[in-house]
């Protein structure tokens, strides 16, 4: 070891630079610029084909590749095994999606070239990336004649949503609420509103989300504006509000999804949070966190299944999509991921299962069935808003505005 280091060091400390060498390198750099040409190909907005055109002549290939978020299916991949048993189609499952932005960034060049992205089915959230995917014509239109389960079992709120009229390209995998979570060990009063996140008494103990849309929603709601009806002026006011909160030192940090542990061990006392995370943390670690849908309102989001247009096995992907809407299968998923299932029937199935279960499992299932975090009440639903709908043009001013809040 020591021998390596000494040799290495000698080399490191031995750099000699000459002006001539520098000039040579500069010349080479210029040549390099010429070599690499001058441009990056455009992603050219294509039009999505009509449903019949796309599906004409396509058949099942007996396999598919599925990109999903981490912890969105149990380690045994139970639902996929059931699917393979039922249909004979094999599934390659990959926890490839960790962030909407970065996943989109990775697949986008391939989609633009009309190449397969390596996945036939993927799950992305309602939001900017979805708008881009649709507008650029990167998604396969769904053939609803082949999706009987979806039309039979999906809840009303998940059929024909505003972000994808007629479910043309997407169906929900699971949904969730963005609300406020707090740790009663440190916060000794009830938290009820978004305004609490702006209180100076919580200086350095408030967690906010890093996602531009999520924080925009909260600031808009605080200002009394419904995100879905907001204008560019509202956005600017919202951003100012957020900067004020940040500059007063109230915000501890802008979190991706890693707020839950700091919330449990007291690094932050209250934070923007996703419903399922809080439920899971309480169920698994008895963290005793409280989750509230603030009085100003909160947002309902969905993680959506979609098929890229360049998929090699779209028919198999469509089959799996529909299979996951079979109530028993959907119940199995919900039991593991603890977010809001798009199939209302799941509540009854789990209720029955809880009745038959015993001990710890019974307790867990009863908690799950009774939790407003997993099965929101109608009153909660009235307070839940949709996201700011963004065209690709608007996004170009929206994202930088809110990134200037979180990335500073």
């Amino acid at each position: 070891m020591s021998r390596i280091d000494r040799a290495l060091l000698r080399g490191m400390t031995r750099a000699r630079m000459s002006r001539r060498g520098l000039l040579g390198a500069a010349g080479l750099a210029a040549a390099g610029a010429a070599l690499t040409g001058c441009g990056v190909g455009g992603q050219g907005a294509g039009k999505a084909p009509e449903s019949e055109d796309f599906w004409a002549g396509k058949e099942s290939n007996g396999k598919l590749r599925f990109a999903n978020w981490p912890l969105y299916m149990d380690a045994e991949r139970t639902q996929l095994k059931e699917f393979t048993e039922a249909t004979g189609v094999k599934v390659d499952y990959d926890e490839a999606v960790q962030e909407n932005h970065s996943f989109f960034g990775k697949i986008q060049p391939k989609l633009a070239d009309g190449e397969s992205i390596g996945y036939d089915l993927m799950v992305l959230s309602t939001g900017i990336e979805l708008a881009k995917l649709v507008e650029l014509g990167y998604l396969a239109p769904l053939d609803h004649t082949k999706m009987p389960n979806f039309s039979d079992y999906a809840g009303d709120k998940y059929q024909d949503p505003s972000y994808d009229p007629g479910n043309r390209f997407t169906v929900p995998y699971t949904s969730g609420i963005t609300g406020i979570a707090y740790n009663p060990d440190y916060v000794d009063r009830e938290i009820t509103s978004i305004a609490d996140l702006w209180r100076p008494e919580f200086e350095g103990k408030v967690g906010m989300m890093a996602d531009p849309q999520e924080i925009a929603n909260f600031a808009l709601l605080l200002n009394g504006v419904a995100p879905a009806d907001s204008t560019e002026q509202d956005w600017e006011k919202a951003a100012d509000k957020l900067k004020e909160q940040r500059d007063k030192g109230i915000v501890r940090r802008y979190y991706q999804q890693d707020y839950i542990q700091p919330l449990t061990n007291g690094d932050v006392w209250l934070s923007m949070a996703w419903s399922g995370d809080v439920f899971q943390q309480n169920a698994e670690e008895g963290a005793g966190l409280e989750f509230v849908v603030p009085e100003e309102g909160a947002t309902l989001w969905s993680d959506l299944m979609m098929i890229p247009r360049t998929a090699a096995n779209p028919v198999d992907a469509l089959m799996l999509m529909d299979f996951l809407y079979e109530p028993d299968v959907a119940a199995g998923l919900a039991e593991y991921i603890n977010y809001i299932p798009p199939v209302p029937e799941v509540q009854n199935i789990l209720e029955e299962k809880a009745a038959d279960a015993s001990g710890e499992e019974k307790e867990f299932l009863e908690d799950l069935v009774g939790s407003p975090l997993v099965f929101p009440t109608d009153e909660d639903y009235t307070k839940l808003h949709n996201y700011v709908p963004l065209s690709v043009d608007q996004e170009e001013s929206f994202s930088p505005l809110f990134l200037s809040v979180t990335q500073s």
Partner: protein
Amino acid sequence: MTATSAPAPPAAPAPARARRPRRRVDWGKYVTWAVIAWLLSPIAFMIVFSFNDIKGRHNVTWQGFTLHWYADALAYPDLTQALVNSLLIALLTMVFAGLLGGLLGLALGRYTFRGQGATDLVMFSAISAPEVVMGAGLLSMFLTMNIATGFWTIVVSHVMFSVSFVAITVRARVLALDPALEEAARDLGASAWTTFRLVTLPMLAPALMAGGLIAFVLSIDDYIITTFVSGNTSTFPLWIWGTTRVGTPPQVNVMGTLIFAVGVLLAVVNAAMARRRA
């Protein structure tokens, strides 16, 4: 820390000590050991928490001892795949960077030639350029040339940033070689190739091994450049980074511990061999 750095640590070479009174406190020793403890504390944490019997997803508070995670080290197929990718990439980097860097180091140590200054400059730049700049540059190039990023772009990039380290290591060894040995071989009638194969190469072997090891370590540890050029390919550091959002499973600690153990073993063996040769 400032208090310990302001006064000169007592420098007492052996003969001087005989004439001077013995110093009472050897501050430097405490500083050094404190620094070593500081450097190793997160590693101790990692190792200890690979035995942590956690119930939920978050491995931060101690909840009891278990060997479960070692038995179940391969529970996450994605993690296993990422680790396999990392090892493969590191091995390929070691081979390619070892080869290219070895040749470069040999040339730099043995010959004077035109362009040596420029070579030095480029090597120095490649060593000291910030990773984010190299990553950004590589991605820019792959984008403009329309090359899809993935496994091979990672390998290519890792070879790029480790080749200079190998070259430097080999050059130092070449400079230290006794040319008389090779001359002797020539005098005894060996051809240039035979001399190289039977005399030069064996003498360079330790430096090549060391350089290759550096390339391996640099590659397996790299995060920043890899994020830029990885496409859909995952590596060990990238996978860990991804899990920080939802809770890093103890299996990561297990694999980190195993890699650490192998690294320590290799270093100790290398040091022992160096001692025996010396």
